[in-house]
């Protein structure tokens, strides 16, 4: 039977990170993945990541995937694709299916990094074709270039629902609304804001009553829920849709750990049945480790660091790393992981809503209940200031670990500081040169360049624009408010597509002066849109 120092099950961000770390320590590592392509969920993530530079902030998920694969390759990690692990046994043996045969392999250590699967919700009509998981929709669009449908309702306002909702818009679908039984948006406010300003309404405290259709979805009815999750009669709303995306959480795919005899615990805060492990991912079975979503649902950034921590711990466990070296390395990594687990959405703060930010600014209930900041609320945040000439307006109102905007500005206009959950401050006396790097670097697309008095009663607003077709200068259209309402006429002055912006186009539109602090999205007029298509 083939023996390896380390067998990793799952070539997603956590598994690959662990493999790289272990390989750097000199271990023989093989990674088995059942898919035809490695990278787990990373390659579906077309949006820019949060965090700080060490967390690959502002880099699109799939590029992080590319980087990881290159690093794994350079480190001598073997990744075996189309290799499905059918069983894991307490003595660290795995049975792997590859093609038409199975083989047995043994690891001195085994790391399970199999990730998670999507939950379902059993509303009437849920088995109709057209009801799909948000993750499945993401795979269809971003890996296979297939639109899941034309008119979509998104159920679930956590980050998955919000991010995929936006990607549905980018793919050319109409998103009729985002629905959540909870009274508040579950994911980042900036993700919600991206959707709201495109005109997507939020229906919080609502759930799906039923999906209609005979052999596929043709419509959906939602209704408001009371405190006991019962539908309030008379609140039903109907939408004609052909697709219902369900984003109601993930469950760890921990079955291999369970069958190997690891102590397991059903922890709703981690998404379901997870192994009992210590901070290095060591389970109760000697030599079997777990990292990433399988040990508790979080996100790709933390999964990667957890993977590295496990890799280092395994290297220490097998004598490939001196203990002090390992302790130092793990210490660094834990610091990095800890930096991600701070702020309003930290695992430890789940379920609570602060009244004020760390700085003492009011947390916007409008954002949490409707998906957008109101006009007067926006001024409460240190990133939103009035100034003469072009200046950055940063509509960032929640403490989340994220600081690429600070690094992006060479003129020192933006300050966050040591604590990366701090809200960005637009520094009063710094001189903005309108390079646009901050706008492009913000993973939340929450930064705008505004010239409140551009002349002749007009203002200019430069916004991040990630839709096709990219409008050209002179295109006429309408300016949309944060809530997606058309509030004024707008004309495109320029659109900058520079490689340094990494596909975030910077669209500058001219709007009436009084809309400088209100217009935050551009919608081309139909006539002009046709001209775009033709030219």
């Amino acid at each position: 039977m083939n023996r390896h120092d380390l067998i990793v099950i799952g070539a997603g961000p956590s598994g690959l990170s662990a493999a790289i770390e272990a390989a750097h320590a000199g271990m023989d590592v093989v990674v088995f993945d059942e898919n035809a392509r490695p990278g787990g969920q990373l390659f579906k993530q077309i949006h820019k990541f949060f965090g700080s530079k060490e967390h690959h902030a502002k880099v699109r998920g799939f590029r992080i995937g590319d980087e990881l694969l290159k690093e794994a390759d350079a480190a001598g990690v073997r990744v075996e694709l189309d290799s499905s692990v059918l069983g894991l046994y307490p003595d660290r043996e795995v049975v792997v299916r590859h093609g038409d045969e199975v083989f047995h392999a043994k690891g001195d250590a085994v790391l399970v990094a199999t990730g998670a699967s999507e939950n379902t919700l059993g509303f009437p009509g849920w088995t109709l074709p057209g009801v799909i998981g948000a993750g499945a929709a993401q795979t269809m669009m971003n890996l296979h270039g297939v639109r899941p449908g034309d008119r979509v309702l998104m159920l679930g306002s956590g980050n998955v629902g919000l991010v995929v909702g936006f990607q549905l818009l980018q793919a050319g679908c109409e998103v009729v609304g985002v629905v959540d039984a909870a009274p508040r948006v579950g994911g980042y406010g900036v993700h919600a804001a991206k959707l709201a300003r495109c005109g997507v309404p939020f229906h919080l405290s609502h759930t799906i009553v039923s999906a209609e259709g005979t052999d596929h979805v043709t419509g959906v009815t939602i209704g408001e829920v009371d405190k006991s999750w019962q539908i309030v009669p008379g609140t039903e709303k109907h939408f004609d849709v052909d697709t219902i995306c369900v984003a109601v959480g993930l469950s760890p795919m921990s079955q291999l750990l369970d069958m190997a005899g690891c102590d397991m615990v059903d922890d709703p805060r981690r998404g379901g049945l997870v192994p009992v492990c210590d901070e290095s991912g060591a389970t109760s079975v000697a030599g079997i480790f777990a990292s990433g979503d399988v040990s508790g649902i979080e996100e790709a950034s933390s999964a990667m660091i957890e993977g590295r921590i496990s890799g280092a711990a395994i290297a220490d466990y097998l004598g490939y790393l001196e203990h002090e070296g390992e302790t130092r390395r793990v210490g660094e990594l834990e610091g990095s992981l800890d930096a991600l687990r701070q702020g309003m959405f930290a695992p430890k703060n789940r379920g609570t809503v602060p009244e004020r930010t760390e700085e003492g600014c009011p947390v916007s209930m409008n954002l949490l209940e409707h998906g957008f900041l109101s006009d007067d609320e926006v001024l409460a945040y240190p990133g939103v200031t009035h100034a003469k000439g072009v200046h950055a307006v940063i509509e960032c109102s929640q403490n989340i670990p994220c600081n690429p905007c600070q690094d992006a500005c060479r003129k020192g206009c933006i300050s966050i500081g040591e604590n990366i959950t701090s809200l960005p401050v637009v520094v009063g006396d710094a001189a903005c040169v309108a390079c646009g790097m901050c706008v492009a670097s913000c993973p939340g697309q929450a930064i705008f360049l505004v010239d409140e008095g551009a002349g002749d009663g007009f203002a200019t607003v430069t916004l991040p624009y990630e839709f096709l077709p990219v409008p050209t200068a002179g295109t006429r259209g309408r300016g949309l408010s944060r809530s997606g309402e058309e509030i004024c006429d707008a004309v495109v002055e320029s659109v900058r597509c520079v490689s340094a912006f990494d596909h975030t186009n910077l669209l500058t539109m001219r709007v009436p002066e009084d809309c400088a602090m209100r217009a935050r999205f551009f919608r081309p007029s139909p006539a002009d849109a046709d001209e775009e298509a033709v030219s």
Partner: protein, 386 residues
Amino acid sequence: MTDTRTEGVEALGGTADVIVVGAGVIGCATAYNLALRGRSVVVLERDESIGNGGSSRNGGGVRQSGRDARELPLAMYAVEHLWPSLSEELGADVEYVKKGNLRLGKTEHHLEVLQGLAKTGREHGLDMRMLSTDEVRELNPFLSDEVIGASWCPTDGHANPLRTTLAFYRRARALGVRFVTGVDVLGVRTVRGRARQVVTSVGVFEGDEIVLAAGLGTRRLAASVGIDVPMRGLLIEALVTEAEPRMFPQMLGTADADFYGHQTAHGSFVFGGDSGLEESNGYAGGVPTASITAPAICRSIMKYVPRLADAKIVRTWAGWEDECADGVPVISTVDEVPGLTLACAFTGHGFGISPIVGRLVAELCCGEKTTLDVTAFRYDRFRAWA
């Protein structure tokens, strides 16, 4: 939120006419038969689920052929009188199919073994004979060319052991039997020389009669009143496929005994078997499967039924057979411990005779003349070989 299941749990303990330890198919069938006789019954089960031992892990065979001569009368009675109407009696479909049992042979030696089995069967009144290659294939066109003959018992069959066990449980519960799961039974205690008390982690249950039907666990409990049942655990594994188009209704087995199984009402195939290395497989406890067993079972099956090569296996599991020293169960009152009845050590073939065993144990408890003679299953039959 109040847990309606455990309200009043502190009040556990109590009395009944009969205390049954073990809620597998034997315990549940016994409880059902006792309830029919108007007895109050408490069934105590260690696991949190009913029937989570051998009752839910076996291959579902309801066969007479191949049994020890001592067991044959029980199997024949059950097949003739009890199985055909069991679904109706219990008000649940136990998926009983009576379409025969084919035991397959590939070599001359196999055929000799099978002839021996057929002869024993016939000597005890069982309709069983050998089939030629052509006859076998007429009955079951899916068998490989390697099969050169088979023994055939047309009155054998199969059923769903999961459903059967739960059906006995459901009916017994509806008749007023009190089932308590999640209870660690520590031992049996006599009062004035009579077995009366079952001591558990949550209280003492007292009854005029005590039945121990706890599989391998019976040994420890019987030992608490000085009785030994010579049995040991034997690991065996099973696998189940996806639903396949309807192929054949017979129960299959082999002269080599390398696998046995059938196609269920659902369309899936359930097969049991082993790798031959079970005795040396190391286990920390529980009932885990080994990595080499299911592959071995597959290779055995494919040699006999090539069409199943493309059937997809969706799950494997393992179970402990409670193997008795002489291969047949202990179904017996205990002279030296009045009030105690043992029903255990079924050696992997308890399911097929469970309906009659349930009745026999109830009769023993109630002091009635037993439907069949159970002398051969006495607890004190074990003798040294010299």
